[in-house]
Amino acid sequence: MNWFGFGFNGFGQIIAADVKCKVSTPVLLSDARGSDCRVSGSWSSRAAVIHTDSGSRVCVSGFLRGSSGQVCVPESEGCTDASISERHVTVSFTRRVECWEIQQAQNRLVWSREQESSGQDVALPLVPGGYVVPRPPFFRPLCAKLCAVSLALGTEHAVLLTASGTVFTWGSGSHGQLGHGHLTSQEEAQVVEALWGVQIAAVSAGGWHSASVSAGGDLYMWGWNESGQLGLPSQSVEEEKLRARRPGDALVLADVHKGSNDLCVDLAVNQAEEKNKDDVFISIQAFPALVDIPQVSEIIRVACGSRHTAAVTGDLYTWGWGSYGQLGHDTERSTDEPALVKYFHSHDMRVRDVVCGLWNTYVSAVPEEPSSHKHTHTE
């Protein structure tokens, strides 16, 4: 299995020693290989848990100790999982979890905790008994009754999934990211009642938005939509489209709008600029909304960056803020409509997983089995 990356590369976190700040089509991460490899991203760096014959360790690419580089963290030898932030890397082992400060001359252990090795394989930031954040107090307990199986931490909120498929949220609610229908912040975990009765299988949290995938493969999102990261009509995306239109082109197939189920093609600049007075733009969606990806039947996984979203269907779809190439469409345009990342499809690869840094996207993919190659959409 291989990992690919695209988006912000200002510190070489995707392609080391490359002056290009933006990578807008997927690029193979040379060091992140192997079936157990896990990747996590911050704003300025990326960590991969690499398994070799001699053991496992964390390798960090990006901003490290004052400059850009790629280095392994010797203190992580034997780790099972890792999560990176601007100043720290959190590493979990079989019987303990540690948080290391990695921006000084010497790596410094700032926190650690012994733990019972749990039967379940929970991913960071979840640890037995609670979860870990890269700032004091590093460990935050979670009520055992919650039976948390997955936890996603956004910039200022948290989305938790329980064993029974229920979603809880807490933290800042200022942009509707808690999904309770209002903008009030919550200190305590609260059920997202609008999803009551839907069994959720995966959750994700971005800068100011949240996503959850049901067992049946439906995607629900809520929170801030200022760059179209919820897949709902965004005013700023519309304005960007209008600015990008080249005046004078008689026939401009630059933008394809989706009507009810039809594709409506803008034929002329004049036509397009006569804005429909009924256009409704959504800035904040405070209740979960179903996100439809046309001609896609099942969504398997979802990941959120600060203002963009990526979904795995066997293929990869991305939408939201794209100024740093983090959508992987070979452009820096943002979009409020889920769009296929053609790279994986055209290279006959099956996408397995996706993880986001703040301004980038990391994808794991395997070569497609020829017999099971599905044509799930038109090019």
Partner: protein, 426 residues
């Protein structure tokens, strides 16, 4: 204009007089920057991540490594985008000033990249807008360098605009036809008027007993009435290209209400002269006079503010500029207020804090200082006690100053194109 030392040989100084205006702009810009990289000191608290600090240092290094070519626009945009995300984290009040400073640095480097060489008028406009974004959302850096940059850019715009701007027809002809009802003031409820009271008289009769009053004759000497009478043309010339926050939507309690950042010219064209059907727009509660010092010269702080306990520097001065029909719903403020009317007339109703229980304030923490009642069209089924509340009312005219005591409920509706200046003091 404040200038820092820039080491030129004598010959170069002479050359300055012969440079064409546009190259002169970049030269002027360089003179307000620190002369060397070592003089360009970057200091931030530990709260700022070393990674973004690195990008800022890179921008500075790029600027000084090649004197004719400024930092790249891309580097500046990274600083802007990252600090913007931090400005939107947490409540505005709690945003660390360091992030606002970082945002200003991002704007500075973006402006420098736009000013390079012979920038087009469009680029100079974008540079002015970028300065304004830094002034509105950032925090002062390098002795308020963005303010000084705006001055240089504005002068360049003046030089660049060769074609004479079509002079506007008299405002009354082009104004949007306003469906504005003219209120009749009930003399029994009229706010009392007083001519130029002494400090003592004002304190004993109005400030101490907390009684609203209209003070006449104390602002007529303002340059806004005399040397530079405020008009649409004048505002365009002083501030037309400046970006300001506009409230869109009939009132801030509406669901449709939003804010946008547009230039003063765009606001006048779109919302005052009504060239496009855009609904109600209001330049409201904005510290315009901090952003545009030229306008601050046209007004004066009322002498009566010295009767308060606060410092003069703590007085908040807000601009309120909009067409007829703008509404501020009934609400109360935590400070004393002098509302000076410069252009146009406003209908104002005042309720004492003693009748608060009849005014149905919102429950939410965000709006608990705002009444739920639409003052001029109250829903008496939902708010049956409202008519019990006694009030005073007035039509505020140009030259009037309304004293609104602290926590006094007030409702304001403009009757025509209006420009008011409010002074919040304690």
């Amino acid at each position: 204009m404040y200038r820092q030392g820039w080491k030129w040989g004598d010959k170069s100084i002479d050359l300055l007089n012969f440079l064409p205006p546009l190259a002169q702009m970049w030269t002027e810009v360089r003179t307000i920057l620190p002369s060397t990289m070592d003089d360009f000191i970057i200091e931030f608290s530990e709260k700022i991540e070393p990674s973004v600090l690195k990008v800022l240092e890179l921008a500075r290094d790029q600027l000084y490594s090649r004197p004719d070519c400024p930092s790249s626009a891309e580097t500046a945009q990274i600083i802007i985008d990252y600090s913007w995300e931090n400005l939107n984290t947490g409540t505005w009040r709690d945003v660390d000033k360091e992030w606002r400073r970082m945002y200003s640095y991002g704007c500075l480097f973006k402006v420098l990249s736009l000013c390079n060489g012979d920038p087009s008028q469009a680029k100079v406009k974008e540079a002015i807008k970028t300065c304004d974004m830094g002034l509105l959302m950032g925090a002062a850096i390098m002795d308020n360098i963005l303010q000084r940059l705006v001055c240089i850019l504005k002068n360049t715009m003046k030089l660049k605009s060769t074609k004479v701007e079509k002079s506007e027809e008299p405002c009354s002809k082009k104004m949007k036809w306003e469906c504005v009802s003219e209120p009749v003031i009930n003399p029994a409820r009229a706010v009392p008027r007083i001519q130029c009271p002494s400090l003592e008289r004002f304190r004993s009769d109005f400030l101490d007993p907390q009684k609203p009053t209209i003070i006449e004759g104390i602002i007529n000497h303002w340059p806004a009435f005399t040397e530079h009478p405020w008009s649409i043309d004048y505002l365009r010339s002083v501030a037309g290209c400046r970006t300001v926050p506009i409230e869109v939507g009939s009132k801030y309690t509406d669901e449709e209400w939003s804010q946008k950042l547009i230039t003063v010219n765009e606001f006048i064209d779109g919302y005052i002269l009504g060239t496009e059907e855009k609904g109600v727009g209001y330049l409201a509660q904005h510290q315009l006079f901090d952003q545009i010092p030229e306008l601050k010269e046209d007004i004066r702080i009322p002498d009566y503010c010295c009767l308060g306990e606060g410092e003069e520097d703590d007085i908040t001065i807000n601009a309120w500029f909009g067409p007829g029909g703008t509404v501020s719903p009934l609400h109360q403020d935590p400070q004393q207020n002098f509302l000076a009317q410069v252009v146009g007339r406003k209908y104002i109703r005042l309720y004492s804090p003693e009748v608060t229980e009849n005014l149905y304030p919102h429950d939410s923490q965000l709006l608990h200082n705002t009444s739920q009642v639409e003052v001029e069209n109250p829903d008496l089924v939902k708010f049956p006690e409202f008519p019990k509340a006694s009030y005073e009312e007035c039509v505020l005219q140009p030259g009037d100053v309304l004293f609104i005591p602290v926590q006094h409920w007030h409702y304001v509706r403009s009757l025509e194109l209006s420009f008011s200046v409010s002074f919040w003091w304690s």
